[in-house]
């Protein structure tokens, strides 16, 4: 079961209500996306912590047992 960009954005929006979120469909197959999340909560976190928070927001969609989401290129940062 592939995913839509807006589904990913909704999941991220739930976890990061004030964040600036951009989700791009990289291959049109519902499986390869890029997402950029800029959120105040990331300030002071290192990259691994930031991205762990984003993966947690995706609640197991990432390469999970039924692997809806195979590839998600992630960029995370705190607003400048």
């Amino acid at each position: 079961m592939a995913m839509q960009a807006h589904e990913i954005e909704n999941l991220l929006r739930e976890a990061f209500p004030q964040a600036s979120i951009t989700v791009t469909d990289m291959a049109g197959d519902g499986n390869h996306f890029a997402a950029e999340v800029q959120d105040e909560s990331f300030r002071g976190m290192n990259r691994v912590q930031q991205q762990r928070a984003v993966y947690a927001a995706l609640k197991g969609k990432m390469d999970g047992a039924d692997g809806e989401l195979h590839a998600l290129a992630l960029t995370t940062k705190a607003p400048d």
């Binding site: 691994v48 991205q51 762990r52 390469d63 590839a71 998600l72 992630l74």
Partner: protein, 119 residues
Amino acid sequence: MSAQDQIKQTVTDNDVVLFMKGTKMAPQCGFSQRVAGVLNYMGVEFLDVNVLADDDVRQGVKEFSDWPTIPQLYVKGEFVGGCDIITEMTMSGELDKLFEDNGVTYNKDAAEKIRAANA
């Protein structure tokens, strides 16, 4: 020995370990290929663990690092990151510093070439 213990042992016994899909000479996934490629190009000695060959390790390593994707790079037992993070660290020079801080030999010129080529 459980997958968790096996993984713990592997990352403790080897300075640099890359859990990846495929092997360093025959990566099976674009993301694994990119990280293995960077390490190969920078002349870094590393152990490649093909998670496709062992599903317990493939699921176990995600639990071990609380990180849902492959590849996963470990230096001196510490989880460093996946493809995005390693790419960013390569471009920013943080990977060079991480290797220097951990006494991992690598080719500085090669790292500079990667940055120049992708600037």
